[in-house]
Symmetry: C2
Subunit: 338 residues, 2 copies
């Protein structure tokens, strides 16, 4: 009989937490007991898992006794405090926050790309930033085929990346504006309905945002190549679910574009949608609720000797967060690491 695991979900009532529960059920992850955990604000409420109502427990230092696997998605400060406690009790932690991602002792993993990094884990494994996770799938293909010199990416990120309240804000602002009413931004710093904001996470002294630097640094770590140059501009758009990315890649060696497309199609986790003359190209609406990362608008860059342009779209709650976390857990099981 297959082994089953006691699984804790920290932040079970949030947007990503909810998605983790759904994906654990959907993919039939072998669970003997599910323990949803949350802060005081949400503890005591119930969540549904496989048709059963389960009471959400208060997250404390004692929450992790007898737990095998804990999926964290309750913010950086919660992970900073509780993930090491869980790990010290022998729990394997998959952390969805940015807190441990660049820690050299913590593997940062997209299972299709760098599964071997899991072997080096010391109790905590980091799940990448949403905008990085989807991009590294086609980048891994390109890197293996012809090497990557430099990446210039601009994003079109949905509001669900900023949580439930952000989704409500887009809905409410849109309704109010369509009814000729004034709006007052709360969750976002400026109007998000019918607007775009070149501002995700905080601004650093360099002029980049923290979100942009996550894409720069995490991409290098996941692809295992510090020499790859990356620059990013991350932009919030009035879309509910799924991030889109305009990705420009300068390669080291020449390539055959048809071979790249073929390799994309064969790579696990990628779905090529690339027949633009027949209106086949990815958009957020195509991607929401899907596991695959959609890649389209694939073309030879006319501005450099060896370059590829592409448009990469994925459900930020799935591949960008919950799905990748569960895939990490599945891979740990498969490799006998859990």
């Amino acid at each position: 009989m297959l082994k089953e695991y006691k699984v804790a979900v920290v932040g079970a009532t949030g947007v990503v937490g909810h998605e983790i529960l759904e994906i654990l059920a959907e993919r039939n992850f072998p669970i003997s007991e599910l323990v949803p955990l949350a802060s005081e604000r949400s503890a005591g409420s119930t969540i549904e898992f496989k048709g059963e109502d389960i009471k959400v427990q208060l997250l404390t230092e004692n929450s992790f006794d007898n737990i095998d696997l804990a999926l964290f998605s309750a913010g950086g400060s919660v992970s900073a405090k509780f993930a090491p406690i869980a790990a010290s009790k022998g729990v394997t932690v998959v952390d969805n926050t940015s807190h441990f991602r660049m820690d050299p002792k913590v593997p940062l993993v997209v299972p299709e790309v760098n599964p071997k990094d899991l072997k080096k884990h010391n109790g905590i494994i980091a799940n990448p930033n949403c905008s990085t996770a989807q991009m590294v799938l086609p980048l891994k293909v390109i890197k293996d085929m012809c090497g990557i010199k430099r990446i210039v990416v601009s994003t079109y990120q949905s509001v669900s990346g900023a949580g439930k309240e952000a989704m409500d804000e887009l809905m409410n602002q849109s309704t109010q504006l369509l009814n000729g009413k004034k709006i007052e931004p709360k969750k976002f710093p400026k109007q998000i309905a019918f607007n775009v904001l070149p501002h995700i996470d905080i601004f650093l002294d360099s002029g980049y945002t923290k979100e942009e630097m996550k894409m720069v640094e995490e991409t290098k770590k996941i692809l295992g190549d510090d020499k790859i140059k990356v620059t990013a501009t991350t932009v919030r758009v009035p879309v509910f679910i799924s991030h889109s990315e305009s990705v420009n890649v300068e390669t080291i060696k020449p390539f055959d574009l048809e071979e790249i497309k073929k390799a994309f199609a064969e790579f696990p986790g990628i779905k090529v949608m690339d027949d633009p003359k027949n209106l086949v190209y990815p958009t957020p609406i195509d991607s929401a609720g899907q596991d695959a990362t959609l890649v389209g608008r694939i073309r030879r860059d006319i501005s450099c000797e060896n370059g590829i342009e592409m448009f990469v779209v994925a459900d930020n709650l799935r591949k960008g967060a919950a799905l990748n976390a569960v895939q990490i857990a599945e891979r740990l099981v498969l490799d006998g690491l859990l």
Copy 2:
């Protein structure tokens, strides 16, 4: 006394035509008579100009007798047929369509950037594509200070670039979706509300769209430098007015970023909005109805030796179309070319 001109506006009832009339009035262009022209569909209706109702006349080959200046904004095929007729009658044509833009005998002008090209005109002057017009302002500054090697641009273009029906479609789709109703795309190939479409104008065999190639080719022509490499990805976003652009520029020579910012601020037509830590950065909402091209998120690109990242936002109906056309006319007057 200042000379006054008989001015025809072809396509006077369209979104851009309407904006041209407003800007001609706003800037007090010296007009002795205004002649609004349109196709059969709209001829006979009235437009307002400086508080007066003026009847829209049917566009025919005889519409241009005694006209000094004609501003065309009624689609490429209308310009293709009627602009040469007008020019042959001694009318100076400022054409807002793409039809003549790459014609070597036709100057393509952004008055702040290449006003001298007007001197070479043979009756027809082309107004650039909206997404190009705004971008070349900061690019001109960069080119003059340190030369440009390569540009990678991704756009966030509003629906007004596709006309009135497109604006209605965004409004109607948004309302329907917020009320839980199904939508059926008409003007756009796919759902535009709460979605983004990497598709503007038709697809070419290269995989680029015509809109993208306009940005590539027009940028070189306006900046007067064929050696500049450009690649573009143009994307429609659910915004009513103003295009945003994430522009990455590799320069030929090193630069001082503060000097670039200072030169932006001093350049006519640019307004720098660049104090991100205090939430000063441009968005479409800031730009709609404004003449200035807003430039922000200006930072040193960390992915190449000499590079600049910036976010450029402008009202696509103004700087991207009507305003630039009227500015061309003003410049013609100023230089004694009309």
